[in-house]
Amino acid sequence: MLTAGHLMVTVFPMPDKNALIEMQQLMLRYPAGKVALSGVSLAISKGSFIYLTGESGAGKSSLLRMFYGGLRPTSGQLSVQQWDMRGLSEGDVRELRQRTGIIFQDHKLLFSRTVFENVALPLRVQGWEKERLVPRVRKVLEFVGLDDRLWSYPEALSGGEQQRIAIARAMVTNPPIILADEPTGNLDEDTARHVLDLLMTLNNNGTTVIMATHDLHLLNSHPGRVIQLHQGSLVGDSHG
């Protein structure tokens, strides 16, 4: 029986060996004082397809940024791909990012570069030789159905095509995990469905996909695990 004299300690459970991402009592407070996440505990297994949902400001994007080292936890535990995110060195963050594909709502494509150059950038960062790089880029562009736009500039493409280029860039290094921050936010329903088809295909090939989204109607055609956040707290975890 605990008495007032006993020391209070937080006990974290043993890590799940199949988990790609694990967090316990995760808290994130921005320097300005705003609490973005509070007491979030969950585990994400390898090969799963996750929808992160919640209203704007619920903490979806903050959580995704923590998964690639863009933000550090204020307290609690977070482990991503076996890395403890609290004590990560700069070199570890770089290595983690090289093993993570990121898709943004605004694509973050380089408009002064061709489609080929945009998709090849992650490979160049990882030091791939041009001889290996060209066929790999062509292969992923074939996967997203844009191999005929190799030398086009992104501004000549539609919104859906730009998002497909962003998917190609995220998958080109064959990372074990893809983080997508509202990738369908600016797309019409048909195009969004097509983008989601691509992500599902990647997931079926073994890639873990975590996608922040508001488009819950997509769950009907593309089922997955739904993690719901509300004002920085975990309020729901179900399979849709």
Binding site: R65, Y68, G69, G70, L71, R72, E90, V93, R94, E95, L96, R97, Q98, R99, T100, I102, K108, L110, S112, R113, T114, F116, E117, A120, L121, P122, R124, V125, Q126, K130, V134, R138, E142, D147, D148, L150, W151
Partner: protein, 296 residues
């Protein structure tokens, strides 16, 4: 897939950012190149001018000689004056110039005419030639003047001025070094400013490379290289533009027996420009912060 598309990568050389790939050359870089080139050209001109001035007074600096003249009627004091001058610090030796030697010199000075100068030579004052061990010795020329005045002798002031020319040159050289330092800093700032504008224009690219896990050297290297190339290129251009200047003043320099060597300025302008460009690039990229930087 269309076979024509498959062959395209081999036909087109893709330009990927980062590492040893230079950013595209634009109007900002061109303007910076011109400004740095003009600054380096001005510096090169100053150092070339110093090179010419050095040659002009060079023979004097090698073996500085000074003449003291004693009126004929005071010939009796010649020996004592000789000894007093010899005893001064900074005077290496004192030699009396004979009348015959003076006559030969006068004959030559008059253009080796058939005129018999021996009569004139007899009217010349007694001449003592002083070889100076250290023309920079403090108060040396004042001491010589004082000793000469005590015996009613005079010093060749033109020769004093020439002997002092190297001191003036040294002062100019010091000023040139100071100007070089200031202009180098100004050039570094110009390069730095230019690269900061380019960095602002390419902030998305830098941010994206960091999100993809690029190492810092990979992100910064293109800008460092660009700074070095900009400075080095401006150095070579400035060196090339020194040649019209050298050719333009060649008639004048030939008359003064000055042989300018712009070749010696090639390496300093090239290396100096590159170093200054690198410095500017390092300053520009010192605080290259992106959202989601790993140090956040």
């Amino acid at each position: 897939m269309d076979e024509r598309i498959k062959e395209m990568p081999e036909q087109i050389n893709p330009r990927l950012p980062g590492g040893f790939q230079l950013p595209p050359f634009g109007i900002h870089q061109f303007l910076a190149l011109i400004i740095v080139c003009v600054a380096l050209w001005a510096l090169g001109s100053v150092w070339l001018g110093l090179q010419g001035a050095q040659q002009w007074v060079g023979s004097w600096q090698e073996n500085v000689r000074l003449h003291v003249y004693l009126p004929v009627e005071k010939r009796g004091d010649l020996k004592e004056l000789n000894e007093r001058l010899r005893s001064l610090d900074g005077v290496d030796s004192v030699r009396q110039i004979s009348r015959e030697e003076a006559a030969v010199w006068m004959q030559g000075w008059l253009g080796d005419t058939s005129l018999n100068v021996s009569k004139f030579a007899k009217q010349l004052p007694e001449s003592l030639e002083l070889t100076l061990a250290d023309s920079e010795h403090e108060f040396l020329f004042s001491d010589i003047r004082d000793e000469a005045a005590r015996f009613g002798a005079t010093v060749n002031e033109d020769e004093v001025q020439m002997a002092n020319a190297h001191q003036l040159l040294q002062s100019i050289r010091n000023l040139a070094w100071f100007a070089t330092l200031i202009i180098a800093l100004a050039m570094a700032m110009i390069v730095s400013n230019t690269l900061r504008m380019i960095l602002l224009a390419r902030a998305d690219e830098v941010h994206l490379m960091r999100l993809l896990g690029a190492k810092e050297w990979f992100v910064r290297m293109p800008f460092i290289l660009e700074g070095a190339l900009l400075g080095g290129g401006a150095g070579i251009l400035a060196w090339i533009l020194l040649w019209p200047l050298v050719l333009g003043v060649s008639d004048w320099t030939d008359g003064l027996s000055i042989d300018l060597h712009p070749f010696v300025l090639l390496l300093p302008l090239l290396a100096g420009g590159a170093v200054v460009g690198c410095l500017g690039a390092v300053v520009a990229t010192a605080r290259l912060v992106s959202p989601d930087s790993v140090d956040q």
